[in-house]
């Protein structure tokens, strides 16, 4: 038995795999941005706006399939941790303490689904399949 076009099949599989991991990494960064935006624009308390202005997502794409995305608030603002952690202080709703945790908790249940969908879509696109 002979497999016709074996090199072409292998090449397509390689492209599919690469696309899958690239897509997963990109989707992971998008999820981090989604969390950051919800925390920044909805739940982060505002006084001067300085804390809100420090919202930051950084992504690190290492040797595949490793990737990471960090969400940060409060660089250079010494009261940031107090705003996030002090539960005895009043904030005008919907802003609140635990503003970043709230966003993570709210979005995390569907996060893996969305990352998976992004990975598969990228894989199909890269491999030229639908």
């Amino acid at each position: 038995m002979a497999i016709l076009n074996i090199e072409r099949v292998l090449d397509q599989l390689r492209r599919w795999g690469q696309g899958f991991f690239d897509g997963a990494a990109a989707a992971q960064v998008e999820e981090a941005k989604r969390v950051m935006l919800l925390a920044r624009d909805v739940y982060c308390p505002i006084d001067t706006g300085a804390l809100r202005g420090t919202a930051l997502v950084t992504a690190e794409l290492r040797e595949l399939p490793l990737a990471s995305a960090d969400i940060r608030f409060g660089d250079g603002i010494d009261y940031a941790v107090f705003v996030h952690e002090r539960l005895d202080l009043f904030h005008q709703p919907p802003t609140q303490a635990k503003f970043l945790q709230r966003a993570v908790d709210e979005l995390s249940p569907q996060m893996t689904v969305r990352i998976g969908e992004g990975a598969v879509a990228a894989a199909k696109s890269r491999a030229g399949t639908t």
Partner: protein, 125 residues
């Protein structure tokens, strides 16, 4: 008042962390005594679906407060809370997990008293 927060306070009492000198407050802050342990429920993510059941995964925070100038005492008490509750099982919940390796300062409060906090996640049994 939440039954399971009561159970956490009882667990800390049994372990000797909550005492008459270090009373527990639940869901609210009291001005006195200076030394106190406050337990706050902080919600947590939506329950996790597994087969036909949904498992709750609540979160909570414990804050130790001490007298003015006694930050070390508050820090040590918060550390005792952490070591007592981390991996503990309490009233229908297990898998308590501290989400920090050590307490961290979140104070002082308006009266200048030091506050140290530890956050936890729990899982329903």
């Amino acid at each position: 008042m939440s039954v399971w927060v009561d159970a956490i306070a009882s667990h800390l009492t049994t372990a000797g962390v909550v005492t008459t000198a270090w009373p527990a407050h639940k869901l609210g802050v009291h001005d006195s005594p200076d030394q106190s342990i406050t337990i706050y429920e902080t919600g947590g993510p939506e329950p996790e679906q597994a087969s036909d059941r949904r498992w709750r995964r609540p979160t909570f925070q414990v804050v130790a407060r001490a007298a003015v100038g006694e930050a070390q005492a508050a820090n040590l008490k918060a550390m005792a809370v952490l070591t007592t509750l981390d991996r503990a099982s309490v009233s229908g919940f297990d898998h308590f997990r501290a989400t920090q390796s050590a307490p961290f300062p979140i104070g002082p409060d308006p009266l200048g008293r030091p506050l140290f906090a530890v956050n936890f996640r729990a899982g329903e049994t």
